[in-house]
Amino acid sequence: MRLIHFSDHKQRHTRVALLSSPHSETYKYVDDQLAQVEHCRYVKNTLGTDLTALTKENSLEDLSNKLVEGDPELDFEVMGKRLEKSHRIFLKASDNSPAFGVYIQETRYKPNGDLIETRDFEGVSSNINEDAPLVWSNKLIDKVECCRKYVFKRTYQLKHSDGLSFDFLLNIATELAEKSSLLIVGAGKKANQPLITSRNGKPYRGFLEGRIKENEYMLLLHVSNLELKLPETS
């Protein structure tokens, strides 16, 4: 279970659950008898029977003749099999041989394509459940204005684990619902750093929304990494 360590406007803080929405399928594929079908992933070829391997010692013309005469592209032992379990390995792009001692290099480009820098990739940890809680930013933004400014990519729901954290979250939701605003949520002392919800995950800006119905609450953390604006060249 993913936890978020969060602080309210009175600087009280606790850890609560951060949940994704259970994804409900809005449609499903069926056959002509209206019976449900199964989507499967299967093995098409191996490294020994793909185009790179087959054209290593044959020209395309020779290969086309061999395809007419036989089935060099088929590995009958594995073709069509459903691979239930496998391990990831890295292969050299040049000859598909296994690679060793790999590292990740990242290159950053400006929107116009200009190179900014190339550097070794350094993994990042999640920053939503650290020893210090995410602070209450006190930066509120009107709901409609926020929708006109940012594009929301995902939404999480905060959920309590006991009676005390219920009161904690209910109070936050009530505070935000009364103001009809979203609270900007960020990491760091000034709450101005992006949120990273999982290890090596994408950084996002967070916006907390509270809704109240009788004595029940809905506290939603909307995250965004895109503004509704135009590229500089437009």
Binding site: L3, A17, L19, S21, T26, Y27, K28, Y29, D31, D32, A35, V37, E38, C40, R41, Y42, V43, K44, T46, L47, L51, T52, K85, S86, R88, I89, F90, L91, K92, A93, S94, N96, A99, F100, V102, Q105, E106, T107, R108, Y109, P111, I116, K143, C147, K149, V151, F152, K153, T155, H160, D162, G163, E209, E216, Y217, M218, L226, E227, L228, L230
Partner: protein, 199 residues
Amino acid sequence: MAKNLVFKLGEEDFSSTIVKIDREKLYGRIVKKVIDDDGEECYAGHISADGLHIFGKTSFDSGYLNQDGLWLERKSLKILNQQDQVCPELPSSFDHPIELNNTLATEDYLMMNSKSVYHLLDAPVKLVSAVRDQDGFFQFPFNYRPHHHPDTAVLISNDLGLFMVVCESGQQFEYIGQEHFLPMDDDEDDSDEFDFAMM
């Protein structure tokens, strides 16, 4: 390539070219490469659990099987909605005018995640004003290509222009009462025995 949409608001048609907006265009891009100790570029492949077979970029494909395990061509499949009704294929939104007669409340829009964003490049002022002055957001079904199940798109205007946000629905969040708590994971040993060796 930029494409043209036609919106129908009341009796009037408004035509606008849409241009996709994404992080790459606004903020630039990051390209990650895997390099091995020989300095050669690599890619992620798979090895079978028994270690006998190595699979590369083009080693896998996917398809559909019926309940007897027989292969089905995708074009022979039908699509059912949540009410188990067969959905007919709907045309692309570029092939017909889009009626702007439904709105979405802000709270309902916030329940959807965006899939893609487009700028309506040369949107007529009258359309921009109508979107800006509307209470809530105009929403409509949107199919980039003909499909049985369209996405939901909304029009949003701000000081910088008119945008269309294509969203995926299906998120279901509920109000939570005190009794619906979620116990924290308990990593501790369930045993009642008091172990002095642990101290």
